[in-house]
Amino acid sequence: MSLTIPDGEFVAIMGQNGAGKTTLVKHFNGLLKPTKGEVLVDGVSTRSVSVAKLARKIGFVFQNPDHQLFSETVEEEIAFALRNFGFEEATIEKHVTWALNLLDLTEYRKASPFMLSGGERKRVALASVLAWDPSVVILDEPTIGQDHKQKEKLRQFIVQLNEQGKTVVIVTHDVEFVAECNPRVILMVDGKIVASGEAKRILSDAALTYSASIVPPQITQVFHNLANFGLPSDVIDVYEAKKILLGLFGEIKR
């Protein structure tokens, strides 16, 4: 497989369970080393650098927050990575406050991470990675176990991170979420990349999504079924769909 992710890009890696999405992203920060070929981060092979060094550049938020939470307080949890990277105490304090604020966790500063709800724990895990301000953020299944409101917040948050110039990679099979974010989509089947390109093109391609066991967004399905009425088949966004449908109604009225 060959893949290049330029700085500042927003990428979603999609595919069915066991397609190799998580395995692929674990190569990005050196948790897994390639048995053949090479993975370069800023031109440096991951084989020649330790995970801890790479982690300074590449923040990786794991799927299950319970796999990383261990401190007595949320504050300590977020400071953990900063201490590992050798930040100074004053800087740590500043970064922790910033991260707590960013993810709406300030009120839980002194709470135990184990007492928080699932969604909150997930946010703590996210904060503990964003706190050191990595230039690349990898999120493994960020939408699992989040209600609609939190998902919407997360979406805005990810888009905002990307606008600040960070490279964002998400691993997911939540099509609706990807359709709303509109990133570059990389589709994987059986450990291989079968397609890469604009979300609009890939998620509306019936044959492609079928081969990767992904159901296209509902709005796309509706438009596919209405193709006889001259509607475009590459719509994935609800707002765009609304515009097209309203235009159509306007024509009919006239």
């Binding site: 995970v51 794991f62 796999h67 990383q68 261990f70 990575a81 990675v129």
Partner: protein, 260 residues
């Protein structure tokens, strides 16, 4: 973790896998007893190579070698301890002490290898059947098989947690001895917490599937002895008799006897 690999059951069909687990356990027990009887290298060496035909017949050689490789580290520690403390105790480092230390680690290897064969060729289901038919209360049987079954799950989870903490800049191999131990706290706490959580969930799932509803359980399959089992019983008894005879009626030459 590699020691655990050697105890992980994989479904293979062979004549060894089909043997009654109780009989296999008897065989392992016979080897165990003989291993404890001797402190000389020669009989232990024979004992070490004795189960090899079983390993090949069961086609588990790769896993078996892996479990031995994992045990070598502990065997080395046993050797060093025996040698060093034996030296201070007797104030001599002759051939006798050397042979004794080698035998002690060899004995350990024999124990590991025989139990590894047992677990590699016995499915957890068969094991629980054997325990049940030996009138062990089902609660204990269940707890035991569950523990065996969760070892690989826990090992995998530990790996994920390690990855997650490494991604946050944790370096396990950094610092002095004490610091290195402390480095494992961020790994152990999530592991323990999730193990407790999982056991509570398992208990709830069991309750909702009517665990313990009928006091007398019946099984779809029952274990029956076949001709192969009787052959192994005879073999085990023979082995034990030979071992006891050698121990009490024959003097075993020390290793130095063979040296010029």
């Amino acid at each position: 973790m590699s020691v655990f690999e050697g105890f992980r059951f994989r479904h293979v069909t062979s004549s060894i896998h089909k043997l009654d687990p109780r009989v296999k356990f008897l065989f392992v027990l016979a080897i165990f007893i003989i291993a404890v009887l001797f402190t000389e290298v020669l009989p232990l060496l024979i004992l070490f190579f004795l189960p090899l035909p079983f390993v090949f017949a069961a086609r588990v050689q790769r896993e078996w070698v892996r479990s031995l490789r994992g045990a070598i580290f502990l065997a080395t520690i046993i050797f060093v301890f025996n040698f060093v403390f034996g030296y201070f105790y007797q104030l001599q480092a002759g051939a006798v002490l050397l042979e004794y230390s080698i035998s002690m680690s060899l004995r350990f290897m024999v124990l590991v290898e025989s139990f590894s064969i047992f677990f590699l060729t016995t499915s957890p289901d068969h094991l629980s059947l054997a325990l049940e038919q030996s009138h062990v209360p089902y609660e204990f049987t269940f707890a035991f098989t569950t523990a065996v079954r969760f070892v690989p799950v826990l090992a995998e989870e530990a790996q994920t947690i390690m990855d997650a903490q490494k991604a946050r800049g944790l370096e396990l191999e950094r610092g002095n001895f004490l610091k290195r131990i402390r480095n494992y706290i961020p790994i152990l706490i999530p592991l323990i917490v999730s193990a407790i959580r999982r056991s509570l969930e398992l208990a709830e799932a069991m309750e909702s599937r009517a665990w313990g509803a009928s006091p007398k359980r019946t099984n779809l399959y029952t274990l029956k002895m076949k001709s192969g089992d009787f052959v192994l019983i005879v073999l085990s008894i023979l082995l034990l008799t030979i071992g006891l005879y050698l121990r009490y009626f024959v003097s075993i030459p020390p290793l130095s006897y063979f040296l010029p």
